[in-house]
């Protein structure tokens, strides 16, 4: 235990005294955020106008619409035909079109028997951020209805509160992405580089000559990096809040939980790279080879849905996609941790698999 604390302390001291690394690992994400935020983020708030084509015109469809209208972030425009609505969508007057086909009422009365009823939602692919948010909102309302129908014991009632003041711009989309990027870079690239260099310089070998156990060493390394990453994430969130007024709508605990989960998963991958890399010089390119595509594909700067279809299955497997999505959902929409179970699960899966591989490939020298 003494060794664990001493090593953690030593690692934190090394971090703090390595002023240059400390500065640049913080300066880079903040710089990116500020530059992108000011150039792209000025689009102002999102106002989502939903075009509604109600072909059913039943009490049930009215109920759905009135539920949707409770959201102040959404405004509505009734359209008579689908074609009319779509053309407005193409012109940018509408961001989303919701169609309630005939037969909706009947289907609702069947109380959810058979396959779920599909409500077509059309959105503008060129304006994804906005349409995504809109979809999310529409989805929530529909979810509420369908759960009510099936007498679901809902844990979803919290939703409308976060949404009421929803006013999102690109910077809101960007900040969670930047935090995810920091976690990826600092841990995967950081661990790979540091461990490979310590090994090369014989630092690890010297420690192997003592009674120190490998797991104590790794545990201390993990702890120190968690503290450091936690603080860095907080600073970035603080800057985002002060400069751009980006707030966290969901629970802080949930954000912290995903920061920790992401840190652990990427650190484990970093340990694998450190194990594979024969020299510290080769660790950086290997880490770069893995991190670069992840930054572009994994929803850090661009929405995952913008990525080509054939890449989607790969993207769905990347840990970064789930980390950025989870952070974004928590921060922007205020989704609870419980409803991000899938993201948490996949990150945990990466963590466990990577950790097992890392412990097999780890070498002191």
């Amino acid at each position: 235990m003494k060794a664990y604390w001493q090593l953690t302390l030593a690692q934190l001291r090394i971090f703090i005294r390595n002023k240059q690394v400390l500065f640049w690992t913080l300066a880079f994400p903040i710089f990116l955020m500020v530059v992108l935020g000011f150039t792209l983020g000025k689009g102002g708030g999102i106002s989502v106008t939903v075009g509604v084509v109600d072909a059913d015109k039943s009490p049930q469809s009215h109920e759905l619409l009135s539920l949707l209208k409770k959201n102040k972030a959404l405004s509505f425009e009734a359209k008579n035909t689908k074609e009319q609505a779509i053309s407005s969508l193409k012109q940018g007057d509408l961001q989303i079109v919701l169609q309630i086909p005939k037969g909706y009422e009947e289907r609702i009365k069947q109380k959810g028997a058979g396959s779920p009823f599909a409500l077509p939602v059309y959105y503008d692919e060129t304006n994804l951020t906005v349409s995504q948010v809109g979809q999310q909102l529409v989805n929530n309302a529909i979810d509420t209805i369908s759960k009510k129908q099936t007498k679901y014991k809902p844990s979803v009632v919290i939703q409308p509160e976060g949404i009421e003041s929803l006013h999102l711009s690109y910077i809101d989309f960007l900040v969670p992405g930047i935090v995810a990027m920091m976690i990826l870079n600092n841990n995967m690239n950081g661990v790979a580089g540091q461990i490979a260099s310590w090994r090369e310089r014989g630092i690890l070998r010297r420690m192997q000559g003592t009674m120190l156990k490998a797991h104590t060493f790794i545990a201390a390394q993990i702890t120190a990096r968690l503290v450091l990453n936690g603080l860095q994430a907080l600073i970035v969130l603080g800057v985002a809040r002060m400069v751009f007024g980006v707030a966290i709508r969901g629970s802080w605990l949930s954000v912290i939980a995903f920061v920790i989960l992401g840190t652990l998963a990427f650190m484990a991958i970093g340990f694998i790279i450190a194990g594979i890399a024969k020299t510290p010089e080769s660790a950086a390119p290997i880490a770069g080879f893995l991190s670069f595509p992840m930054l572009f594909l994994g929803g850090v700067f661009f929405p995952i849905k913008d990525m080509p279809d054939f890449l989607q299955p790969i993207i769905k497997l990347l840990p970064i996609s789930h980390l950025s999505t989870a952070l974004r959902e928590t921060m922007n929409v205020g989704v609870s941790f419980a409803s991000l179970g899938m993201e948490a699960l996949i990150l945990a899966g990466w963590l466990i698999i990577a950790f097992v591989i890392a412990s097999i490939t780890f070498k002191w020298e």
Binding site: K2, A3, W5, Q6, L7, L9, A10, R13, I14, R17, N18, R201, G202, I203, R205, R206, M207, Q208, G209, T210, M211, L212, E365
Partner: protein, 309 residues
């Protein structure tokens, strides 16, 4: 040999790297309180032998005991009673002397008072300095302090003075002798003959993975049967037998144009050498005489110089 108890028992250790046998069946014992030197050129297997003893490499065959602990089966116990200084150690450069000693101390169940240890290693002024700012000699003394932090029985020093200036080497020698006085058992490798001579009670000479001699420095030199060495170079090669015929020569070595003659009677041999040279009209260049050293022992035994790669 002394009747003292044996602190280290090495029994036919073998280490191979692919087809290359780095250490080929080395056997020796080190007594408690002894300073034991492993001597040899680069690649002789000194470091590999030492690294097997401290558990950094697994021997293919043979075994060794530190005290009563088997290095193959009780490594954790072995590590508790040994202290290690590895060749060209690098440490966390951004930590201070005090901090890194505290950290290494925490790796063991108990450790010495850090302040005293720092005083002992003449690092008092550098207590709060970062490792980055230390000189080569100071870093080496810190490396030894780290080896001593848990008050081990046996201390392994791998080329402790390589790359140090003469002053720093002397300081380090004093430290080793001080440790010996306190009853520590010390195993060190070196390729400096003078160092081995000053520090070591006994010396094992290694070459190509094998132990080729093991004795006190004095006995090793005495066994050369020559008190003095005469070295010179010639412009064209001369048959070795010609040199052996010079009066008083007990042994003659020659490598290309460099010749070394060993003699118990320096004056007689020198006179005879000059005579032979002028009779045959051989020009002797760089003629030097010196007392025979361990270096000569080594050259004689292996036909190679210690510093040779």
């Amino acid at each position: 040999m002394k009747q003292a108890e044996s602190m280290i028992t090495v029994d036919s250790l073998v280490k191979r790297y692919g087809n290359f046998t780095a250490v080929n069946g080395v056997t020796f014992q080190v007594q408690k309180g002894e300073v034991f030197g492993l001597l040899g050129p680069n690649g002789a297997g000194k470091t590999t032998t030492l690294e097997m003893l401290v558990g950094l490499r697994k021997p293919e065959e043979g075994t060794a005991f530190i005290g009563s602990f088997n290095i193959r089966k009780e490594l954790q116990k072995v590590k508790e009673v040994i202290g290690v200084q590895l060749q060209s150690t690098t440490l966390f450069e951004l930590l201070t002397v005090e901090e890194i000693l505290q950290m290494y101390g925490s790796f063991y169940p108990k450790h010495l008072p850090i302040a005293e240890l720092i005083d002992d290693m003449i690092l008092t002024e550098k207590r709060k300095s970062r490792i980055k700012s230390l000189s080569g000699g100071q870093k080496q003394r810190l490396a030894i302090a780290l080896a001593l932090v848990h008050d081990p029985w046996v201390i392994f020093l791998d080329e402790p003075t390589t790359g140090l200036d003469p002053q720093a080497r002397r300081t380090l020698w004093d430290i080793v002798l001080k440790l010996k006085k306190r009853g520590k058992t010390i195993v060190l490798t070196t390729h400096y003959m003078d160092e081995a001579h000053v520090l070591c009670d006994r010396i094992a000479i290694m070459d190509r993975g094998e132990l080729i001699a093991l004795d006190t420095p004095e006995t090793l030199v005495r066994n050369l049967h020559a008190a003095s060495a005469i070295s010179f170079s010639v412009s064209s090669e001369v048959d070795l037998n010609e040199w052996a015929k010079v009066e008083g020569v007990t042994k003659a070595d020659c490598k290309e144009k460099e010749v070394v003659l060993y003699s118990d009677d320096l004056q007689l041999t020198l006179t005879s050498l000059i005579q032979t040279a002028s009779e045959r009209q051989i020009a002797l260049e760089d003629l030097q005489t010196r007392t025979a050293t361990l270096e000569d022992v080594f050259i004689h035994m292996t036909g190679r110089s210690l510093r040779e790669e």
